[in-house]
């Protein structure tokens, strides 16, 4: 058997496994998004993610109506491959 395909699969599996395990960690780190009542900390996290993700390409836009913002974030999730967690936090920050 050729070692290259196995190596490629192993790397991909490593990434996905890492993603899976880290996602669990991330989920616990991001748990406040769905459960906590501390809106301030969510806003703070959201602002951090906003500056880290959106600032990669463009200057900070103004806040738009919540339903429009939700569409923009869905678009940016696809276009800029923003993660699910980051999208939710940024959306919270931009709409609250």
């Amino acid at each position: 058997m050729k070692p290259v395909p196995v190596l490629v699969f192993a790397i991909i599996l490593g990434f996905t496994a890492l993603a899976g395990s880290s996602n669990k960690k991330e989920t616990s780190a991001v748990t406040p998004v769905t459960h906590a009542t501390d809106a301030d900390s969510m806003r703070s996290l959201g602002e951090q993610r906003f500056r880290a993700n959106c600032g990669r390409c463009h200057a900070a836009p103004q806040k738009f109506p919540p339903r429009a913002m939700a569409t923009v974030l869905r678009h940016m999730r696809v276009r800029a491959t923003i993660t699910d967690e980051d999208m939710r936090l940024v959306l919270f920050y931009m709409t609250q």
Binding site: E26, T34, T83
Partner: protein
Amino acid sequence: MKLYHQYKKTRSRRSRAFLSRILSLFLLQFFAPAHTHSQTAANFEKPAPILSGTAGFLTSVTAGQTVLDTQFNPVLLVPLGEHWLVESRGEFEGEFQRQPDGSFGGPVNKHLDYLQADYIANPYLTVTVGRFLTPFGIFNERLYPMWIRALQPDPLILPVATAASDGTMLRGGFPLNTRANFNYAAYVSVTSIGVDGVESERHVGGRAGFFLSGPRLEVGVSWQKVLQDDRKNAVGFHLGWQPRPVPLSVHAEVVRSDQGSGYWVEGAYRLSQAPFWEKAMRRTEVVARAQQYFSGNISSDAAQSLGLPAANTWEADFGVNYFLKDGLKAVASYGRQLSSAGNFNQWTFGIAYRFLIPLGREAAP
């Protein structure tokens, strides 16, 4: 000998079983149900259709030739349910030059940049079908719009491996840990269309990148193989960096292909830390870009038809952007191009505006 063959057969069977197990695990990860997404999406407002985009007017003087460039790029975004998004961008561009009778006139180009349906299958995977921007490097997909780009002239290597794609694409981004995200895109373009305004080629490719949130550093690699004509490969690298201590944004791309190779590196610095004229300085950005293009194995005519320089070229650009208000900026830049085909200056002045209109009464504030 027989024993050896038996050993080889058993080993091959085991390898296949091992591979299929790995593949199953991989697929299970990616085709996991969208439980997390659905659960949390319900916490937010329902997305509504919007019409967004860019309008702009530029005056450029290239080698003494003045061009009035008017652009309108509407973007329509229609979310459907919790998992779908239909999106499209058109490009209308009028390039007017002085005619022999003294008046300005020229063609108005119409172009469909993309019309795609995105299905967000789960937090790891989005499936796109239709016409989409080819994810090669970062400029074509993310930095192209007038209101985003720091310098209005295109990078010299932009035409390499960025022909439109008509087909399907798998893409996504997910955290590897709390400090690093991984993103990927894999695509296949299945048609070769050469109709005016609707052009594409058959190709297959992919892009993978990492974003490190600590240093705000993004690096990635792109690959594409053309499935028609000479079936050549193209490889690219990209970088984005926004260091925390200073309001600086650095982007760079490198590409190597049969059509030509080259690189560009650009830094945009917001003068918000300047200790004088603070109000005006906060809105001002200075930009510099250096780039080089090396001719490939195609004729100079073919290169020019693709929008590439006809010869090895070096170019430096400097610019200033002033953000008048959100989405509206005045731009000015100067560039000097040096090549065996001729040296010239390029001046650009103009204004770029990004608009967003919620469609429907419910979406309005």
